[in-house]
């Protein structure tokens, strides 16, 4: 392939590049933690139907904390990247938002027409990651 895969994660200075590496590492670690916590919480809640509602709610929401940390780390990466990398990320994220909304609307409409089954909300974020990857690839092809 003729383009550089890391083009959308480049900083303009060596210090900036070190910060990008550190923050992307932190974001990946937090995303793994969030994914693990989501699975663990799902299993835990299945086995505890007698828990009070507040406890169930607290446990169910606990994976949101590492997810929030992951997005905070990703937002900080943006401050260190150079302008082409910011542009690549912007286009990848714009693709993610637009395609996700369109798919959500289309799926909802077909669900209403009883042509598609009800799906769990939790499938949305892996799908969004896949759409982001496609958006990132398109931006790389365009600029890098």
């Amino acid at each position: 392939m003729g383009w550089n895969v890391t083009c959308g994660l480049r900083a303009g200075t060596p210090e900036g590049q070190r910060a990008v590496r550190r923050l992307v590492g932190a974001a990946l670690g937090l995303s793994a933690l969030a994914a693990g916590a989501t699975i663990a919480v799902a299993l835990l809640l299945k086995g505890q139907p007698e828990w009070p509602a507040w406890l169930k709610g607290a446990v169910a929401l606990s994976p949101v904390i590492p997810f929030a940390g992951m997005f905070a780390a990703l937002a900080r990466v943006n401050r260190h990247m150079d302008e082409l990398a910011v542009r690549v990320q912007f286009e990848a994220l714009a693709t993610t938002v637009i395609v996700s909304i369109l798919l959500l609307i289309a799926w909802g409409q077909l669900q209403q027409a009883e042509l598609l089954p009800l799906v769990e909300v939790s499938v949305a974020w892996p799908a969004m990651v896949a759409i982001y990857a496609v958006g990132y690839w398109r931006a790389l092809r365009r600029y890098c």
């Binding site: 550089n4 303009g12 302008e83 082409l84 990398a85 912007f90 365009r142 600029y143 890098c144």
Partner: protein, 74 residues
């Protein structure tokens, strides 16, 4: 938008990496600007102009491809 960045860089015998370092951007950004895939932001265009000691309009020409199809930086 077309530009003379590659010519100006070659005149000084700088590599893309050297120019990128002087501008505080990545080598990929310099490459994308040189090949016309990406129009730099106004601050970066000013930085380039100052580095080469020339006015912006002598480096970048917006009349060649309309007003620039990729719309500049985010």
């Amino acid at each position: 938008m077309e530009n003379r960045l590659k010519v100006l860089r070659a005149e000084r015998d700088w590599s893309q990496a050297e120019l990128a370092e002087r501008l505080g951007v990545s080598r990929q950004t310099v490459n994308a600007v040189e090949t016309g895939k990406y129009d730099p932001s106004l601050p970066l265009a000013f930085k380039i102009a100052r580095l080469f000691g020339q006015p912006i309009e002598r480096i970048f020409d917006d009349r060649t491809h309309g007003n620039g199809e990729n719309g500049g930086a985010a």
